[in-house]
Subunit: 262 residues, 2 copies
């Protein structure tokens, strides 16, 4: 039995195919999100990887910001909060806190036995989100995917005191003009993101295990800074980028089973 | 008796010379602020305009973000909140609310008989400040001082739904790519600033007369949008840009008188 989970975010589309609700058969990530061809391409890529057709899918479930655009294709939709809790529990059965930093938002979820029990979210302010890192990478003229590696080479503490993306950008520009090493600035940027996210996380409380998901979890510098800011170990996995889509595929399997019983 | 008030902001330095605590003899505005030659140039310009020397000044008082850098020159320092309340009351004796939008911050002051009785301030977030308008003007490739004139020519309502500077910038870019008229976008930007500032103002309450000060008061589009958002007439004067420096010069006169009596 094959099920498909699709997560349509603001900046990326992800798709996961599951066999029997427990084995990941294929996964895809297209770097464009809602309102583009991304969702369709993410699905096609997964089907192709698995050598399956859409008709062989027992249930297709969509989640994420742009999930409503898939009404033609998906059998059901669910909120990304539920799917993230579900996906994280599949990857880390002992998870109690999920920190999801996406391209444009930050969500902190409390999880109890795979179910989300409380959450806090910021989608109004770019500070602490992937967008903050995008802006800084552009000013520093480095690739956003190189930030983690570069920040790890920092040898001096540089403080970025503004949390606001706009004011922090000015601080970075002035640090650059003072000749400060980019790698030290990057390390300061990672700590700025971590302190912003930790402030949000303290509103719901943090309990072990803490799992970080979303695109920014690929940045090892932010993960490390977040461990320091939270005082908790932060677990990641190469699969956490697919966490929402994975949760959606798991729910798709549940829904398929329920439909069979009915 | 001549007194000097100097207001050193983050983006501009202003200086006002008063005769006998009631008549403005000279004023200057230099578009660079704290940490530059701006403060010194603002003072020199005023002295030159009036044909006076620094020694002829009975009392010199500094205010604003960068006031501590003038300890050598100024006889005293005072907070910009007190000076803004004082200056606004000189210009508008019936003032009860001062809305000051500067280059990097927004302050709302409640004023009773020339004295500040309550205030609320945002200096952590660029939204609603002059910086927000700078960012938008850059994206739109227009001069920030032309925004008021251009927005007044708008014929269609365009909504900028994000308050965050970073997310609003993306909205503006996408409006431009859709071919939306710049003047309509600018009008939407003015309403965004006004709604942000009104949200802040409601925290302290708004009582007539409402006076708007700071650099952004030069933008007639923001003034008009603020009148709509607050539901109150908003008073401005060409002198409100000098409001902090004017208040400082008024306090300088008071301090001079007090010193004479002692
Ligand atoms: S603090 Fe900065 S990044 Fe956050 S909402 Fe304000 S302008 Fe946007």
């Amino acid at each position: 039995i094959y099920t498909l989970g699709i997560d349509i975010g603001s900046t990326a589309s992800k798709c996961v195919m599951l066999a029997d609700g427990k084995e990941i058969v294929a996964k895809s990530l297209i770097s464009v999100g809602a309102g583009t061809s991304g969702p369709q391409r993410a699905i096609s890529e997964v089907l192709e990887q698995a050598g399956k057709s859409k008709d062989e899918m027992a249930f297709v479930l969509a989640t994420g910001y742009g999930r409503n655009s898939l009404e033609e294709i998906a059998d059901a939709q669910m909120s990304e909060l539920s799917c993230h809790a579900k996906g994280a529990t599949f990857l880390f059965p002992q998870v109690h806190t999920v920190v999801d930093i996406g391209g444009q938002d930050v969500k902190i979820l409390q999880v109890e036995n795979g179910v989300m029990t409380n959450f806090v979210m910021n989608d109004k302010c770019a500070a602490g989100t992937g967008r903050f890192l995008d802006v800084m990478a552009r000013v520093l003229e480095v690739k956003v995917q190189d930030l983690g590696m570069l920040g790890a080479q920092s040898t001096k503490q540089v403080e970025i005191s503004s949390t606001c993306t706009v004011f922090a950008e000015s601080e970075v520009i002035s640090q650059l003009s003072m000749g400060t090493d980019k790698r030290d600035i990057i390390n300061g940027i990672h700590r700025s993101v971590a302190s912003r996210v930790a402030g949000l996380a303290h509103r719901v409380g943090i309990r072990d295990q803490v799992v970080m998901t979303g695109g920014v979890a690929q940045n090892s510098g932010v993960v490390k800074a977040l461990e320091e800011a939270l005082g908790h170990e932060v677990h990641i996995s190469p699969l956490t980028q697919y966490n929402g889509a994975l949760g959606a595929a798991l729910f798709a399997y549940q829904k398929y089973q329920k439909a069979q019983r009915a």
